[in-house]
């Protein structure tokens, strides 16, 4: 695993000097192309090709590698094998890199030098190779469930839920007080006998507005019998006052008051 992708490895060994290929070597070279699906992208292919230089990746000739790659793509074309787009993009980039490496730099050229680009490609290959080897070493380690084992008969932790009830002395005393005094209580019922609601007043006033052509005291509009007790008078006055405020808001009447506590007067807004 650390050496090469299994499908490509034998072919890759024979990938030097394409012009001098023997028939078996040629078949192997073609197998490499046909096996292009076996590669995990252009970088993987480059790594495989780089192995044919039989040098440390740090001393690899990127120029030579670029030529190998371009030769590979060329041969694929003659064999009418469609290469995936990323292989072609890499080919274009390597062609560019090759020309940059061969030609003297143009004066005033910006950006990274061809050497920088080549060095980074070499770094990428070295890093990929290093990760391959690391992966192989990792997978070769003693592994749980294969080389060493966990307890086969685990004794689970049983969960016991315990509920504890709580109460304070105050809770206790209040509870007792509640029981002992409940006879003194009676359900509270709202006393509705002497209540005149605003809805009632509004309903009434709608019918009475017509009679308020001139300023008139609000008190004259109170319903009959609702001044008998103070509570009834308060309730009906409040309800009617609220009702005329509502009508004033709707622009149906205006109201005025001479001074504080003076009688409130209302008048219809002529339509």
């Amino acid at each position: 695993m650390s050496d090469a992708p299994p499908q490509a490895a034998p072919a890759a060994e024979d990938w030097t000097a394409p012009e001098l290929l023997s028939p078996t070597e040629r078949m192997a070279a073609e197998a490499l192309i046909v096996d292009v699906d076996g590669f995990e992208g252009p970088l993987d292919l480059l790594l495989t090709l780089s192995r044919t230089q039989k040098v440390d990746l740090r001393r690899i000739s990127v120029l030579q590698l670029a030529e190998q790659y371009l030769g590979f793509v060329e041969r694929a074309r003659t064999l009418r094998i469609e290469l995936a787009a990323d292989y072609l993009v890499m080919a274009a980039w390597l062609a560019y890199l090759k020309s940059r490496l061969l030609l003297p730099p143009e004066p005033g050229e910006e950006g990274p030098s061809a050497e920088d680009l080549a060095a980074h490609l070499a770094f990428q290959l070295e890093r990929l190779q290093a990760m391959r080897e690391a992966a192989a070493r990792l997978m070769a380690r003693d592994r749980l469930g294969r080389d060493f084992f966990a307890r086969g008969l685990p004794e689970g932790v049983s969960l016991h839920r315990k509920v504890s009830y709580d109460a304070t002395l105050l809770d206790l005393m209040r509870a007792y007080a509640r029981i002992r005094t409940k006879d003194e209580f009676r359900p509270f019922v709202m006393d509705r006998e002497h209540v005149f609601t605003m809805e009632q007043a509004l309903e009434r006033m709608r019918g009475l507005i017509g009679y308020a052509g001139d300023w008139a005291d609000l008190t004259t509009f109170l319903p009959e019998g609702w001044d008998a007790t103070p509570m009834a008078r308060r309730s009906s006055t409040a309800a009617h006052f609220a009702a005329v405020l509502e009508l004033a808001k709707r622009g149906q009447l205006v109201l005025r008051q001479g001074e504080t506590f003076a009688p409130i007067q209302i008048r219809r807004v002529p339509s």
């Binding site: 969960l159 839920r161 504890s164 009830y165 002395l169 809770d171 509870a175 007080a177 409940k182 009676r186």
Partner: protein, 215 residues
């Protein structure tokens, strides 16, 4: 791996200490207790797992796990005295139900008191569960039987109860007058009372109580 079988016969059985390690590992990893026959089959040729087991068993004597015999097979098991470590207890605190706290209050104020008397004071039946719960919590216990027809049992509060509520004796509980003086009790009904009071005996009891006394 077939040739290892051949190889094995060429060698002596591993030393007993090594066999002990093997038995230890096998017992540990197996998903069920392992018989000696099974061990023989799994261990190198010439091994004597029965003997190794004797040593292994001795080694784990008094440890946190022991080698135990299950039927005619062997397994590791947690030492019985450490069983408590294998239980995880979660404690959940809940408020007592209104029925329970009222019943408890009546027992505290009126002890010794019969169930019929509790029901008379509360004005509703007392469920068996409520009494049981209070007994289980050790806040009430059975007192003497009442010397009346039917000789009904009575209930009294316990030391645990006094402890929990910080009382020297049940007689220290404040009376109605004191409760009222302390502002714990407002005899004037609030308007919300009618609505909330008969609501339910259930969980809302506690929130109901606070409403009741907070005006």
């Amino acid at each position: 791996m077939t040739d290892t079988d051949e190889e094995r016969t060429l060698f002596e059985a591993p030393p007993i200490a090594e066999q002990e390690r093997m038995v230890e590992a096998i017992l540990f990893a197996s998903t069920e207790p392992v018989t000696v026959a099974d061990l023989v089959q799994r261990m190198p040729h010439g091994a004597d797992p029965a003997e190794a087991l004797v040593y292994l068993r001795k080694r784990y004597e008094g440890r946190g796990v022991n080698v135990v015999k299950v039927g005619d097979a062997w397994a590791f098991r947690t030492a019985p005295d450490l069983g408590f470590l294998m239980r995880r207890e979660t404690v959940e605190t809940r408020k007592l139900s209104r029925a329970a706290i009222e019943t408890l209050a009546i027992v505290a104020y009126h002890q010794p008191v019969t169930r019929a008397e509790i029901e008379e004071i509360r004005g509703v039946a007392v469920s068996r569960g409520t009494i049981d719960q209070l007994m289980e919590m050790e806040w009430i216990r059975l007192g003497r039987r009442r010397m009346t027809p039917g000789r009904p049992v009575t209930f009294v509060v316990t030391e645990t109860f006094l402890d929990h509520f910080g009382l020297e004796s049940a007689r220290d509980l404040p009376g109605i007058k004191e409760l009222r003086a302390a502002g714990l009790l407002d005899s004037r009904p609030g308007p919300s009372f009618g609505a909330s009071r008969d609501g339910a005996e259930e969980d809302e009891a506690t929130s109901g109580q606070s409403e009741l006394f907070e005006d």
